[in-house]
């Protein structure tokens, strides 16, 4: 295997860990943000035939710059197909999407996610974005990979609102509800990697990120968290993985404080985009993709 990176950040570790969830030849449904970086890492390293569907109607694009949103012009770049949201969503509902990445502000032990509100729905303490496509991905993708920040109140006994279905209330519940997709396969957080027990559908800790303490993870989870008997430390990113991340996202828009850097700085932003043309062209050439 390739060499591990000597120096990497926590977001880079997370992105690399998500990237390892993606297999060559798979079709993924990816929003923007860190999952997109992970998808690109997969494509440029171990999974060259890994292809991405984008929510607002694009497939298998191969851009030479960072996509900024799911309806972004970048998603058309060198795409095999562009069109409507319904066509992409229909493909997913019909079972053509192998893996999708979603997130949320709360998660429960069955992997149900809340991205709608904290507190009462009609009098929210914090109002969040709403489902967007997250519910659709969680309903129909063959499996989902969940990325989350892991902080105090996020791993809850009961979500204030279930936006995106995990295993609902346990074994058999997805089938009973009529959901075609397979449900969550992994939860990758700032602290570790979680999976779901095949029988009970309950989340358990599989891997712990380097330097994170088990007691801190347990303290951040409201229920009595099961831990794998073979608990391992998360594999670090490889040199190559980190190189791809830094090539695609040099200002760390998704992997660091890039948004603070770019806010109001048009010259810096446009330079980031324009610089990416030769750099990404070279990467694509090196990988035999053009």
């Amino acid at each position: 295997m390739a060499e591990y990176a000597k120096d990497y950040t926590l977001p880079e570790l997370m992105a690399a860990t998500v990237a390892r969830e993606f297999k060559d030849g798979e079709i993924a449904f990816i929003g923007v943000g860190m999952p997109l970086i992970a998808a690109s890492v997969a494509k440029f390293t171990h999974a060259p035939n890994f292809n991405i569907m984008v929510e607002f109607g694009a497939f298998a694009y191969s851009p030479r710059r960072l996509p900024l949103c799911v309806d972004c012009a970048v998603n058309c770049e060198r795409a095999y197909w562009t069109g409507t949201l319904r066509d992409v969503m229909s493909a997913q509902q019909a079972g053509f999407v192998d893996v999708a990445c979603i997130s949320g502000a709360q998660i429960d032990k069955y992997g149900n996610l809340n991205s709608t509100c904290i507190g009462d729905y009609y009098k929210p303490k914090v109002r969040l974005a709403g489902s967007g496509g997250a519910n659709d991905l969680a309903s129909s993708a063959k499996r989902t990979v969940i990325m989350m920040r892991q902080e105090g109140r996020r791993f809850v006994n009961k979500c204030d609102y279930i936006t995106s279905p995990g295993y609902l209330d346990g074994p058999g519940a997805r089938e009973k509800a009529g959901l075609p997709g397979g449900g969550p396969a992994a939860v990758i957080t700032t602290m570790g990697v979680f999976r779901f027990d095949e029988e009970t559908k309950e989340m358990y800790l599989e891997k712990i990120h380097p330097g994170v303490k088990l007691e801190d993870i347990k303290a951040s989870v409201q229920w009595d968290l099961a831990v794998s008997p073979n608990l391992e430390v998360t594999e670090p990113p490889t040199e190559e993985q980190v190189l791809v991340m830094r090539t695609l996202d040099p200002v760390m828009v998704y992997l660091g404080n890039g948004r603070d850097v770019l806010a109001g700085d048009f010259e810096r932003f446009i330079k980031m985009f324009e610089d990416s043309y030769p750099v990404m062209t070279e990467l694509l050439k090196k990988k035999g993709m053009i």
Binding site: G33, L68, C72, R86, R127, S139, P165
Partner: protein, 317 residues
């Protein structure tokens, strides 16, 4: 051809007539206080939304799938009484404090929410476009989206006996859409991905489309597969170059992230939002003035940069 007001007298289909008008004319003719307004996200019709704000048309029932920023301009100006939506947030620009203020505190006014998944919301326009009362989907099943939205009905599929969710048709009074190009009679061609522009236009009673370019009917007819919205659905064509700024228009210019991030910073407080609207919307009499305030040099640079990566009909290596 000259602009003549378009009526629906002869049926639902809009006539084969010159429909080019200003944003001011289009908005004042078709968008009324209290109407049911559909907004597409790809591309975002910023020029038309700014004009609605200038004309202070309120009590709107707004229907979107997922919107970033543009719908929040209407929310923050207190023009929306109800929002039917899948998502209203900042995407890469982050947390939408305008939406939070409206939803959490009723500031500047309370807004009723009706929520769907993205696919669910899109299928509502598809049902409206098809002239059927609902569309079936497997999304939303088993979740609180259905619990809190009685308009989503779960029935037993009569073929397999399994649960299936129905979403009700949405037929907005008016749809506003931004697209790449159209001819003067209203044949619209969207290039690249276009979300749900096609079905939104077909579902709505009246349709206003702002475009980057007005082209000849001959240019439309060269490749009729590219026609996303035929003229029979369209009431008004508004020529608004850069009309989606700060969002993107595929193959024309990309998302102005530096600007969007800055806007979201300003919108973090109500005062910041009000000041931003005062300067950029009330402070400009039309889209051209807005573009001058942003700077055509900046806009032109966004276009040049986009063309470095892609132009329609070419593959750039």
């Amino acid at each position: 051809m000259k602009f003549e007001p378009v009526t629906g007298d002869k049926g639902k289909a809009k006539p084969l007539a010159n429909k080019v008008m200003t944003a001011k004319e289009a908005v004042s003719t078709f968008i009324k206080e209290g109407c049911y307004l559909g907004i597409n996200v790809s591309a975002a019709p910023a020029a038309l939304i700014w004009e609605i704000v200038r004309q202070r048309i309120g009590n709107l029932r707004v229907v979107i799938t997922s919107q970033i920023g543009m719908s929040s301009v209407l929310l923050g100006c207190g023009l929306v009484s109800k929002l039917e939506m899948a998502y209203n947030w900042g995407g890469i620009e982050g947390e939408d404090r305008v939406f939070r203020r409206a939803a959490e505190h009723g500031v500047p006014r309370p807004v009723e929410l009706e929520e769907y998944s993205n696919f669910g919301a899109a299928l509502r326009w598809q049902a409206g476009a098809m002239g059927v009362p609902f569309m079936p989907t497997k999304s939303q099943l088993g979740t609180d989206i259905i619990k809190y939205n009685p308009k989503i009905k779960v029935i037993e599929d009569p073929y397999n006996g399994e649960p299936i969710a129905l979403v009700p048709a949405s037929n907005p009074d008016v749809a506003i859409i931004h697209a790449q190009r159209a001819d003067e009679i209203g044949n619209v061609q969207c290039l690249g991905l276009y979300g749900n522009s096609d079905v939104l236009a077909r579902a709505a009673r009246h349709v206003i489309v702002s475009v980057e370019e007005i082209v000849t009917q001959g240019e439309i007819r060269r490749m009729p597969n590219l026609t996303t919205i035929p003229y029979i659905y369209v009431d008004a064509i508004v020529h608004a170059p850069f009309g989606a700024h700060w969002r993107e228009s595929n193959y024309y210019y990309h998302h102005d992230l530096a600007y969007g991030l800055e806007v979201y910073k300003q919108w973090a407080t109500k005062e910041g939002f009000d000041a931003w609207v005062e300067k950029y919307i009330y402070g400009t009499k039309d889209w051209d003035e807005y573009c001058k305030m942003v700077g055509y040099d900046r806009l032109y640079r966004l276009m040049q940069s986009e063309h470095r990566f892609q132009k329609y009909g070419e593959v750039r290596w």
